[in-house]
């Protein structure tokens, strides 16, 4: 059985799914990720599905489960790179991927994770913009 590699980049685990996964491979990935989150102490998981030409209910469920598991383990999961045809099909299939954060690409996914944990990723700039945010909000 093939295995999907999990890469650690800084404080983020990056999973780039490049193959047409069998169900077993998908379940294995779920287990691998949970283990890696704990062993690395990472607080962000990015799952890049740019290369996937379909997402069926099984893979959809796997993504949801990973998101839930990582939440329990204090990590944010962002699914990035979903193709338009895949998104259209998921809508038709009736799969809403509730509870999953998504972003257009890896870069945006990292922004989303950084934004979710402003304390840990504060790069000085964040503080200023936060202040702006307050003023807009209380307009």
């Amino acid at each position: 059985m093939e295995r999907v590699p999990v890469l650690k980049i800084g404080d983020i685990l990056l999973v780039s799914i490049q193959l047409d996964m069998s169900d077993q491979t998908a379940v294995q990935l779920q287990d691998d990720l949970a283990e890696r989150i704990v062993s690395t102490g990472c607080h962000g998981v990015i799952i890049d599905i740019t290369a996937l030409d379909i997402v069926d209910s099984f893979v959809g469920r796997m993504l949801s489960t990973i998101a839930s598991i990582s939440k329990v383990l204090d990590a944010e999961t962002v699914v990035v790179g979903m193709r338009p045809a895949v998104a259209i099909t998921l809508v038709e299939l009736g799969l809403s991927l509730n509870g999953i954060r998504t972003a257009l690409n890896v870069e945006r996914g990292m922004e989303l994770i950084a934004a979710a944990r402003p304390d840990e990723y504060d790069d000085g700039e964040g503080g200023d913009e936060d202040a702006d945010d307050e003023t807009t909000d209380t307009r």
């Binding site: 047409d20 996964m21 069998s22 169900d23 077993q24 491979t25 030409d53 379909i54 997402v55 069926d56 209910s57 099984f58 959809g60 469920r61 193709r83 338009p84 045809a85 895949v86 259209i88 099909t89 038709e92 299939l93 009736g94 799969l95």
Partner: protein, 139 residues
Amino acid sequence: MTTGVDLGHPQAQAIQSDEDVVRVRQLVRTVAVASKLSLVDQTKLVTAASELARNTLVYGGGGTAEVAAVDNGRRRGVRILFADDGPGIADLDLALTDGYTTGGGLGLGLSGARRLVDDFTIDTGPGRGTRITVTKWSR
């Protein structure tokens, strides 16, 4: 409605394992590309095939998928027949309801697959096995 002329011999794929489900997806993709389905239609059909092949494996105890390019005189399309000699489906209406599952899945396999294709016929009953035929036509 589902009638149409078969173009060439249908290609068969046994469904006995997880890997076979992947092979069904790849076979369907190849035939769909050759039949000039649009990218979105290809994606919908392959996703539906993935759901139905998994059902054949999980609920039918294994079976076969037969993929054929068809032509109804106006449009080209792809037809897939999933057949198994499993226990069959006792309550079809219930099985076609969104969210209903006996297998611990999301319950979107059958109902979702039906929404993703143009024609969907099912022949089943307790002890009779299940035969599902789906067709997707080019636009």
